[in-house]
Symmetry: C3
């Protein structure tokens, strides 16, 4: 059994920019030499989140629309009233969607579905440089 | 320390069909021989999801209603416009609720609450045969 | 590689009371002697949930408002009609937000962002004594 930590470095445009990080995670797991285990994917940020989806433009637009509907950008936020940074919606969207995701792998391969990709969403209101933590545990 | 992988095979009716998978996971963990650790439950699909709830008909109906309200079936989806498969809502519901869940166990027993069950929700718009991955890590 | 289990004991006021549990988790991980791994944080309850957020009053109020908007307290719930305990909304909010969170740590330190805290939300409609499970796996 072993633990290996790696990280991804991402450049985003913010504003619900959605990045497909599947290939980078797949490669990191394959190159770790760990055969069977789980990778914990974690974003060390309170204005971004992780989930899985079929990475095609239609579904991505639909997901962005959901957040525009239930947590609109143009609404009063107590966070903005205090800090005046205009990203109150970013915090609430991120808290709802979640910062961590755990994906099992077997024989060095992620157990994702055929049409399932791992995505990083940057909900902040400006472009950001982001780090995503990958913690691989297995043997 | 050891890693054991198993899977559940489920038949669903689709359309937000909710299955209680607690007993199968409980048995898989107990039979694994691993005493203390965590089980990662993962659905390798972009139209289904996992969470916990009190598995009683009222709460299940209330959960289905929530998704009907915030991510309605009868709405225009960019996914449907492109692929014409009518399951745009299934993708967005699944991305929001999430594909993975991690449950600790101690002395071979899941640390679930008394009224807490692990559920699999099939958001697709037709009956499906599903596999759910269980990755047990511990000693 | 080792597994260590601990738990937090919390007193809440219920009604979407939000507790910052970061410091207790940080200390538990540091004192475990495990250097690198992941901590699975799990609430064994169907009326509470876990996530991360910037723990400041504005964002906390905004998060509570989100749940008041999409899963209102004053609405008919099938759960309440059956059980008459008035916490139908608590179950649905908890199922949506989720019971588990996995946080990697490196050299004994959680990989949280600077402005990111781990929170426990008690969605039940009355004060509660709560236990949160921490399962630390690593070496």
């Amino acid at each position: 059994m072993t633990v290996k930590t790696a990280s991804l470095h991402l450049s985003t445009r913010g504003n619900a920019d959605i990045l497909d990080v599947t290939e980078q995670i797949r490669r990191t797991v394959a190159e770790s030499g760990v055969k069977n285990g789980a990778v914990t994917v974690f974003t060390p940020s309170s204005t971004s989140a992780l989930t899985t989806i079929e990475y095609e433009g239609g579904a991505l637009n639909d997901l962005r629309r959901l957040f525009d509907e239930i947590i609109p950008v143009d609404q009063d936020y107590a966070h903005n009233a205090r800090w005046d940074d205009g990203n109150g919606h970013s915090h609430i969207r991120s808290a709802l969607l979640g910062a961590s995701l755990s994906v099992p792998f077997v024989n060095g391969r992620l157990t994702l579905g055929t049409w399932q990709q791992i995505i990083f969403i940057d909900f902040d209101n400006r472009p950001r440089q982001r780090e995503v933590i990958l913690q691989i545990i297995g043997d």
